[in-house]
């Protein structure tokens, strides 16, 4: 299979290194990786602009206050880390849509934007319902051998595989 692998770090090596970073994070800061709660908190911050009283009375935002916390900083770091790695390895590219998508669905930006937006909304709703995303349930859940992590991760892939198959039906193209 032809794939762009030049200069890419082996996923095994980067996986082991990332695993070590996670261990250090748990040891030093007492924090496991997670990502999806931040988007829910962010929604609280946005809603606060319109109706602060309502936000402060909502159960969910009492439980997860709309504020900047460890996880928010983790995502900021992830953004900067990815940017630095992309610039220094010459792989930074302003790209309006993924290659695989463009090959299958053409270069209509509105179509990509709409599907990505709907996908994002479903993904986050599902993650909050499930109690985590591939970071919290996947990586952190597998690490701790938690039942919730295994169950959620299997389900992430189960429906993901079905939908990806429908989207890219009939094509072996990459």
């Amino acid at each position: 299979m032809k794939r762009e692998t030049q200069k890419a770090l082996s996923p095994y090596l980067s996986g082991v290194l990332t695993g070590i970073v996670l261990v250090l994070s748990v040891w030093i800061a007492g924090k496991f990786a997670g990502a999806s709660t931040t988007f829910a908190r962010k929604a609280g911050m946005v809603m606060k602009l319109f109706s602060p009283e309502r936000v402060s009375s909502m159960d969910y935002f009492v439980k997860y206050a709309p504020k900047i916390d460890w996880q928010w900083m983790f995502l900021l770091g992830l953004f900067i880390g990815s940017f630095v790695a992309a610039i220094t390895s010459g792989s930074f590219k302003l790209q309006a849509m993924p290659k695989m998508w463009e090959k299958r669905f053409g270069n209509g930006r509105a179509k990509r934007a709409l599907v990505a937006f709907v996908g994002g909304a479903l993904a986050l709703f599902g993650a909050r319902l499930a109690g985590g995303c591939p970071s919290g349930h996947g990586l952190s859940g597998l690490t701790q051998l938690s039942i919730s992590g295994f169950v959620a991760l299997v389900c992430f892939f189960a429906s993901g595989i079905v939908v990806a198959r429908i989207l890219y039906r009939g094509g072996k193209q990459e």
């Binding site: 980067s14 924090k31 880390g81 940017f83 998508w101 994002g120 429906s159 595989i161």
Partner: protein, 174 residues
């Protein structure tokens, strides 16, 4: 200080993930199409490594686990909804932020969708807490608790299973 640790952890995650190209749409949807297992290699390598480190530190009473509650109904339903959204967007919550860092800005639509999804979830949270979150709720359980075996037995199996899976991937050039 917690915030600084979050930033540093995120920086390293973002750097490693970008360098091994697990952040990209093509890699994530490639995994769901079962043609490119890069993200699975990364995640399993990270989780096995972290599992060994975290449980070692836990046995030495240096860290506490943070196991998410098992709620079979929510883990399954939420997990399946997440998978549908993930396949449409092609980024999970963490990698959507990383994708933006490497210039793949179609992830912005996904991030906006996630904020909407988070807001919708917060709005319906009281009803979900009373219903779906109660279905099959077993608390913070791990595989070791359920199977009544020592966690090191499971970690050893996890390690061996991952290595066999990696070998299988490499033989098939996945």
């Amino acid at each position: 200080m917690k915030l600084v640790y979050g930033l540093i952890t995120g920086l390293l995650f973002g750097y490693f993930m970008q360098r091994s190209r697990v952040i990209r749409y093509d890699a994530q949807v490639g995994a769901m199409r079962l043609i490119d297992m890069t993200i699975v290699k990364f995640m399993m390598a990270a989780a096995v490594t972290a599992s060994i480190g975290v449980y070692l530190l836990h046995d030495l009473r240096l860290v506490e686990l943070s196991v998410k509650s098992t709620m079979i109904g929510a883990n399954v339903i939420g997990g399946l909804i997440f998978g549908v959204g993930w396949a449409l967007l092609g980024y999970c919550p963490g990698t959507a932020v990383g994708a933006l860092g490497e210039g793949r800005w179609d992830s912005i639509w996904g991030i906006l969708g996630m904020i909407l999804g988070g807001g919708v979830f917060a709005a319906v949270f009281p009803a979900i807490k009373r219903t779906i979150w109660q279905w099959g709720a077993y608390g913070k359980i791990t595989l070791a608790d359920v199977l009544h075996v020592n966690h090191w037995v499971l970690i050893a199996l996890f390690l061996i299973g991952s290595l066999l899976l990696f070998r299988w991937f490499e033989r098939r050039d996945l």
